[in-house]
């Protein structure tokens, strides 16, 4: 294990660290989001897209977070599988719903954007499809975890699924790309010419950082909740007489 992780692997040290880190990340996220949104809403309208271009500042970071959270989920799952570490599992379990929310956000904002831009809510293009499959993966992970009562077994089954998904997701991405290149459909909307001038790039970057910080904060909070739940469960069991 890398030293930073090894340091945090101790639950007490983790709880001490996350106790102040979670709110710090939260404040950071709010500040960054305010700055990003301010810059975003004062940026000039796009000459083609008009005001709708501003959806980008919500949408693109959400799409980026969707993948980033999965990387976190898979990493935590790997640690939980190899070291049988409860904290790593709590991290994996806590990450999944957050990832699902970010993915749903990317899908919804994308759809909202697509309606005015493409004249349709949805097209089966490579990017969209692979995001949808990613969303299904999150749902599968959550459903699997929810359906196994025993903590240890639920953890291992979830970890195996997350790792299988980590192998499969690049294949999905690559396969939809391949499939799309075969059928040049009416779906190559990725004209990122004028969209990416600096006036857009700055707020976009800030929003991406804000999302990341928000994720960091929420993740820590949820991991803490998991740890507490486990401790409460152990205490209740100790109190119960068999």
């Amino acid at each position: 294990m890398p030293p930073a992780l090894a340091f945090l692997a101790n639950p007490d040290r983790f709880m001490a660290f996350s106790r102040w880190a979670a709110p710090m990340f939260g404040i950071l996220a709010v500040v960054l989001a305010c700055a990003g949104l301010w810059l975003g809403f004062t940026a000039p309208e796009d000459y083609q897209q008009g005001d709708t271009v501003r959806i980008m500042f919500i949408h693109v970071p959400a799409a980026y977070m969707a993948t980033f959270v999965y990387v976190c989920l898979a990493g935590a799952s790997f640690l939980s599988l190899v070291f049988r570490h409860a904290l790593a599992d709590a991290a994996a379990k806590a990450a999944a719903p957050l990832g699902a929310v970010f993915t749903a956000l990317a899908l919804i904002t994308g759809s909202l954007w697509g309606a005015p831009m493409w004249g349709t809510w949805w097209v089966w293009d490579a990017r969209l499809t692979s995001v949808l499959v990613l969303f299904l993966f999150y749902l599968a992970y959550i459903a699997l975890r929810g359906a196994i009562d025993d903590e240890a077994r639920s953890a291992r089954a979830g970890a195996i699924l997350a790792l299988v998904g980590a192998i499969n997701l690049p294949v999905v991405k690559f396969s939809v790309d391949w499939w799309n290149s075969l059928h040049q459909g009416a779906s190559v909307f990725r004209a990122d010419g004028p969209t990416m001038s600096a006036v857009y790039l700055w707020p976009l970057g800030l929003m991406a950082l804000a999302y990341t910080a928000a994720f960091g904060s929420l993740w820590l909070v949820r991991i803490r909740a998991e740890v507490w739940k486990k401790r409460a469960g152990a205490a209740a069991l100790a109190a119960a007489v068999f």
Binding site: W124, D125, T129, G146, H183
Partner: protein
């Protein structure tokens, strides 16, 4: 009455599958609906043409998938014995099982159906019709499917035998339901399709439980 409620609660829980509940059902549906465009390719027009039909077929398959649990587990683990030893007639038990099946799978899927159809490119203006059709169709699938599941009891078979018994019986609701949706999409009259579907569902609800009860008694003896 409290007996019927207890049974309904148990059956719904069993059909629901504990964990994810409607999430799982809808996730499956979403998966099936995703697979079709993956296979067909992103040609919008072609997709929109088959959208309501595909949503309906996916509904049928989702119903099919959950059938095996309706009677077989109870048969193999002895719970079916208990279910017969009660003042509640076995016909009522069968009807409740079918309704629970619908609550756990059919209803969430009916809610998801319009969304799926729209995702595949169908026009949103028929969302209401899609919902009603899917809800009725799901009920028909539950009663008809239960009959197939009960008949396959005790046969040395598999889910596949149930499927083979059930698929021909699934054909009319698929034709009526998807036909109504297709007609609505083309601006034609769809009421007759819907009425036929409702009639079939009613008939299934009336006859299904009798057939199921007879098949169960036969398997037990």
């Amino acid at each position: 009455m409290s007996r019927l409620l207890a049974l309904l609660r148990r059956e719904t829980a069993l059909a629901w599958g504990g964990g994810g509940g409607p999430l799982v059902a809808v996730g499956f549906y979403a998966g099936v609906v995703t697979m079709l465009p993956l296979a067909i390719g992103p040609d919008l027009e072609r997709l929109a043409g088959i959208a309501p039909a595909a949503a309906f077929v996916a509904l049928a398959l989702a119903s099919l998938l959950s059938l095996e649990r309706m009677f077989e587990r109870d048969y193999e683990d002895g719970a079916l014995d208990l279910l017969t030893l009660s003042p509640t007639p076995l016909e009522a038990v069968a009807a409740i099982k079918s309704i629970a099946q619908w609550i756990a799978a059919g209803a969430p899927l009916a809610i998801a159906a319009p969304i799926a159809a729209i995702a595949l490119g169908a026009s949103p203006q028929h969302a209401g019709l899609t919902f009603v059709t899917a809800a009725l169709g799901g009920l028909a699938f539950a009663f008809v499917g239960g009959t197939g599941a009960a008949l396959a009891l005790g046969a040395r078979r598999g889910a596949l035998l149930t499927a083979v018994i059930v698929l021909p019986l699934f054909a009319p609701p698929v034709i009526f339901g998807a036909g109504a949706l297709q007609a609505a999409a083309n601006g034609l009259a769809w009421t007759s399709g819907l009425l036929l579907l409702a009639g079939y569902t009613l008939a299934a609800a009336a006859l299904g439980p009798v057939a199921m009860a007879a098949a169960c008694r036969n398997a037990l003896s």
